[in-house]
Symmetry: C2
Subunit: 254 residues, 2 copies
């Protein structure tokens, strides 16, 4: 790509989400190798605010699929991971040591969500490096109370993102990302400068015919799609329960 | 490590945060290669809710160092990145397309923070694959209003995490992470099963003499340190301003 490249960066650029999996399970020990390598991701103050619940039972995966907008890839993949923000472990440690954990502020959620996401992205890349495919499931936040019940998630934990893992049954192309100048800002955020880059990006997506109206067959671009999605007012799509359930789990969100 | 391994996973396991940098700048074009490869990280609904502000001006880095608990590595590193949750770009798109972006719920923050963290972790690994060192700066959230002013961050953006990049001037060891069974749960969260693993981990950290009281010289473990840090009540450490500033930036947090 440029003179600055590595096999790791090449692998990153080949990433595409996989939504159809072969039935083969992960070989014994592979998941453990993936997650323990992933744990070496940076973690805020060395506190390791995360847990991963691995679900492989067929019925449980089916129930989670239902709770995540009925996404069939959760049923199909042999291994489904739920990356959780976890202050519960730290609370156990505080209880043992006789201190009182602070969880009243939105910062407590942010720090744990970021920790969980860093772990998840390491796991994604490690899995891909072993020939697996993956897709994130943000819909794990669609019905947080029911997911929490299904996984037995205690107080001070919350499901941040799901991940289907398995051997790919398909080989879709990668989707081009926004032009770098629309994302990378020098010294200050450059709001107006990005507009021309958005136009160029949109034209490229249209040329690729990536999105098409089901009824009319009309091709549309990234901007039309994004503007529609960002404006959904359906409470399910807005995930209006997330805040309430976070508070019920002990995250103060002040 | 096990029969399931890759050069990418080996690199992950070698990770250690770097807090002292050589003065050499990044070669021209290297940052662009890192961030554009990193952009291939998964992104929720293909909406790309993130921006990166790169700061290389010496005075600006010094001001940001002050705002981040006076961390000298921000002054020292040639390139400082601020990964931002960004719904502003999407709002511009909505304005052009005539739709109304929804930002009232804590979900809007979560989805963008996760997106920004996935991008950041890809960038961290890409940078390390090119021989750079990095450390995350969570303290970018210490004084969010002033960081926002310094970087000209518009409405609907928020600094999620900072990152120092540069050539390492030191070669510290990696810090061992929690035992896998304390982090990876089968089918359901296993709260009680983790306690024995925490004890074993603590004993290992004590043996390594990683933490030592400055005054008494006494060695202490991960649990004692974690229990103290999680219980800080100092408003600065709790980052009590994050919620207010998020709301000022247009994140509803309902």
């Amino acid at each position: 790509m440029t003179e600055f490249d590595s096999s790791l960066m090449e692998q990153m650029r080949r990433h595409r989400s996989i939504r159809e999996f072969k039935p083969d399970p992960l070989p014994e020990g592979m998941l453990e190798a993936i997650v323990s390598s992933a744990q070496m991701a940076s973690t805020s103050s060395y506190l390791q605010y995360y847990s991963v619940v691995v679900v492989e039972e067929v019925d449980k995966k089916a129930r989670l699929a239902e709770l995540c907008g009925n996404q069939d890839q959760i049923r199909q993949c042999p291994t489904f991971l739920v990356f959780c923000a976890d202050l519960h472990r730290l609370k156990r440690v505080c209880d043992r040591e006789g201190t009182l954990i602070q969880t009243g502020y939105v910062e407590s959620l942010l720090v744990a969500a970021i920790d969980a996401a860093l772990l998840a992205q390491n796991a994604a890349l490690a899995a891909e490096s072993l020939g697996l495919g993956m897709v994130y499931i943000g819909a794990i936040r669609n019905e947080p109370a029911q997911v929490i019940a299904e996984l037995g998630l205690p107080n001070l934990t919350f499901p941040i993102v799901g991940m289907c893992l398995g051997y790919p049954a398909v080989d879709p192309p990668s989707k081009p990302r926004l032009p770098l100048p629309a994302v990378l800002h020098r010294e200050r955020y450059q709001a107006k400068a990005m507009d021309a880059h958005l136009d160029a990006y949109d034209a490229k997506i249209v040329t690729m015919e990536m999105f098409r109206h089901m009824e009319t067959g009309e091709v549309y671009g990234w901007m039309a799609r994004a503007a529609r999605q960002a404006a959904y007012t359906d409470p399910k799509r807005l995930r209006v329960d997330v805040g309430r359930v976070l508070r019920e789990q002990g995250f103060g969100l002040k």
